[in-house]
Amino acid sequence: MRSNPPLTPAEEAARAAETAELAASFVEETRALLEEANGALLSLERNPDDAEAVNALFRCVHSIKGAAGLFDLPAMIHLVHAGEDLLGAMRDGRLALDGELADQLLAGLDRVGRWNELFRSDGQLPAEAMEEARSFAALYRARLGEGAAAGTAAAAASPDRVRLPGWAGEAAAELAAAAAGEAVVLVEYAPDEGCFFAGDDPLRLVLATPGLAWLDIGTQTAWPEPVAFDPFACNLRFRLAARAPREAVEHHFRYVPDCISLVRAKADALSGAVSGAVSGADAASGDAAAAAVAEEEHPLDPIAIELLEAQRRALSLPGRASQVEDIETTVRNLCRSCGIDWPLGADCAGAETLAPVIDRLLARRDSVPAQAQAQDQAAGAASGIALDRHDAAGERTLRVEQGKVDILMNLVGELVVAKNALPFLARDAELRFGSRELSREIKDKYAVIDRISRQLQNAVMDIRMMPVSDLFKRFPRLVRDIARKQDKKVRLVIEGETTEADKNIIEALAEPLTHVLRNSLDHGIEKAGERALAGKDDLATLKLRAFQDGDCVVIEVIDDGRGIDPGKVRAKAVERGLLDAERVAQLSDAQAVQLVFLPGFSTADAVSDLSGRGVGMDAVRAVVERFGGNVVLESRSGEGTTVRLKLPLSMAVTRVLTVEMAGQLYGVPMDLVVETVRISPQSIRRLKASEAVVLRDQVIPIARLRDMLGMEAHRPALESVLILRVGNATVGMVIDDFGTGMDIILKPFSGILSNLSGFSGTAVLGDGRVLLVLNLKEIL
């Protein structure tokens, strides 16, 4: 092997950075490909005739295999390769996809996904990966009907109980010197017929086997008649014994796992094995091998020879004889590269002229300089050349780390706040410094800055928007797996995938939405038999729908299952001690159904392994409300259930109404405010321990913010009341005075304050004051 010229530290650092970039790109791309493969597999399962899906699946797996080869990931390649063979059979119509096969393929994809993440975090695969890959490959091969023909799989499955191959005795004689009890590894290696084209050099691989102690070279099948002999087809078969750990030998042959069978045995056990007869074909192969060795030792440039041979072969192809310009260029370039004078003129030669030239070149292999040297020089020259960071054409999108966008968002937030200082400045200019003109100037400039920062804010928020499809694409797999496990027939319909929302919201919705879907599958959708009895279609429909509604994104999960039984829910609520029987009886059916949102509620009679994981609808509601949204559940017994999650499109900017309390400003989320009223204290009526006011014939309970914040009571001539809509209830909140509405960037509490209840966060006002934003759902 050639040695690399020493690198300077800077070059080494650049190399390392390139390698890291490559690995990161691989991990990310593999993730995307696996996702696509998953999707394709699911759509294939729904529609087995979907040729497009088979092709997509095949292409994904193929791409993963190609890219994985750039890293030391033999296990991943082995698994993917076996999967690819299986998919190839499906593509050619030799094999049909069934549920079990889909399970196996999905499991394989999952495993590759897990390895991909391990590769990302650890830079390598776990030690047992190859073993796992083999069992997957065996599984896939069994499906292909080949059984464990290659032997590798069988050997891997039961390494200790493998029969010694028939030729073990031959090896034993040669290994006579081996100490009794010493272990050797026996390998039979039958290279692929096309391996020469693949650039494999089987002999070199074999000769480099660690601890090689014995080697026998033969043929896979008897040599054909000379007329039919194809020098490009590999017919060699190697048998060898190596004194090295099994792992080392396996690792050595890691890129040809399909072509080898490997057994580990005690050296003295070998002689007991039946000696295999040496066939005439085997004897004949000796000469071929000798020739191969001789060629190997030839001091010529193997790649140049290969390239020339390839051109010679291309030239003889029927379709290529009339079109030889590229072949000529290739040969001409090769000559120049190797310092050989081009024997023909500059004009394009025909196939007849070119063929003898190539033959002559092939004949003078001896004079061709060793390519290795040349490469050293090329690499040496190259290492001095600065990297050309010129961007490749084609990509029209830009991948940006989320962290960078977050920084941008934070800066925009600060800008919005800083800009809010200008109106205060304008007021000061007028009131404190008496310059009305300056005040107007400031206000004019403020209007401009306000407009620009608003546009900037929208632009940045737009970057953070992503389609819900990123969230939805994980569900077909989930629904399929659960439905299969529960033996239910479910069709998942997804609508409105292109609807967009803020990335954080999309990400936060993953868990609650998963739970809602699980609930539908577990409790809502019936088994086919039960559906038939109810006169419903066998195939249940689960619809996942997203659409934009004003400033909100709405996501609905609609099933046509049995619906929620209000009676059952009432009974359960009482049993769980959540409400007393009397109150439960007063609830309407629609209200009773809402009881599922109570903490500690679960209607599952038996806790399945799917839902019932201690995450109930209350958790779903909590997550959604944390992001300023709400959950609505509608259910008709026997007809199905709809769960509707409604969230703001973007959470970055919150509009609040400021309220004044004892000289302090607090913020109330504007979307909860229905109206503001001033009423006389007398119109607030006392009802037992609570207070209420009648407003337009509606009785509205009253809460006093001063009480809730632990402030002293305050009795003004007119009470300022905020009418709020919290959840499904309307509440009046008595405050000291109304402030103004404003846009703020809400910063949640962090550190020791993060557990503080009653407030959702803070925002800095333009004049530097800190605004506490109330979490009304918690304090009311």
Partner: protein, 146 residues
């Protein structure tokens, strides 16, 4: 680094391997980002100018608009696969003489035969062996070895 169509034919004159002028111009047509990135890192480091295309159609578009000294082509791609790309290239007057190397994980003899039939001049299997790849590119573009 812009490439103009008026550049001299590299087959006639040895390409100078200075730090400013690329040794040769290579177009990589592969749908796998990681493979493209790897090849172009390798080639750029060795002083080649590299362009990338994600499928045959894009590759053809670039091949028709810029001059290249070598095509490195994957087989399995959406829209236009490697075979179709090469067949197109070989049909086109200006592109007929540009050498092409096919690169794929396929190792079957049929795939390889088809590659040569479509107009490939060499076939490399993935995983890419960097030494072999660079040596091939050097030879096929006529970059002097000595």
């Amino acid at each position: 680094m812009t490439i103009t169509a008026t550049d001299r034919d590299p087959a006639d004159t040895p390409a100078p391997a200075s730090e400013d002028t690329p040794k040769a111009r290579v177009l990589i047509v592969d749908d796998t980002l990681t493979v493209r990135l790897y090849c172009s890192q390798l080639l750029k480091r060795a002083g080649f100018a590299v362009s990338e295309a994600i499928n045959g159609l894009e590759g053809l578009e670039q091949a028709l608009n810029q001059r290249f000294d070598l095509f490195v082509v994957d087989i399995n791609m959406q829209k236009m696969d490697g075979y179709a790309f090469l067949a197109e290239v070989r049909r086109h007057g200006d592109l007929r003489s540009v050498p092409a190397v096919m690169m794929s994980t396929e190792q079957g003899r049929e795939d390889i035969a088809r590659a040569f039939q479509s107009g490939a001049n060499f076939y490399l299997t993935k995983p890419i062996d960097p030494t072999r790849f660079l040596a091939t590119v050097n030879l096929m573009t006529g970059v002097p070895c000595r």
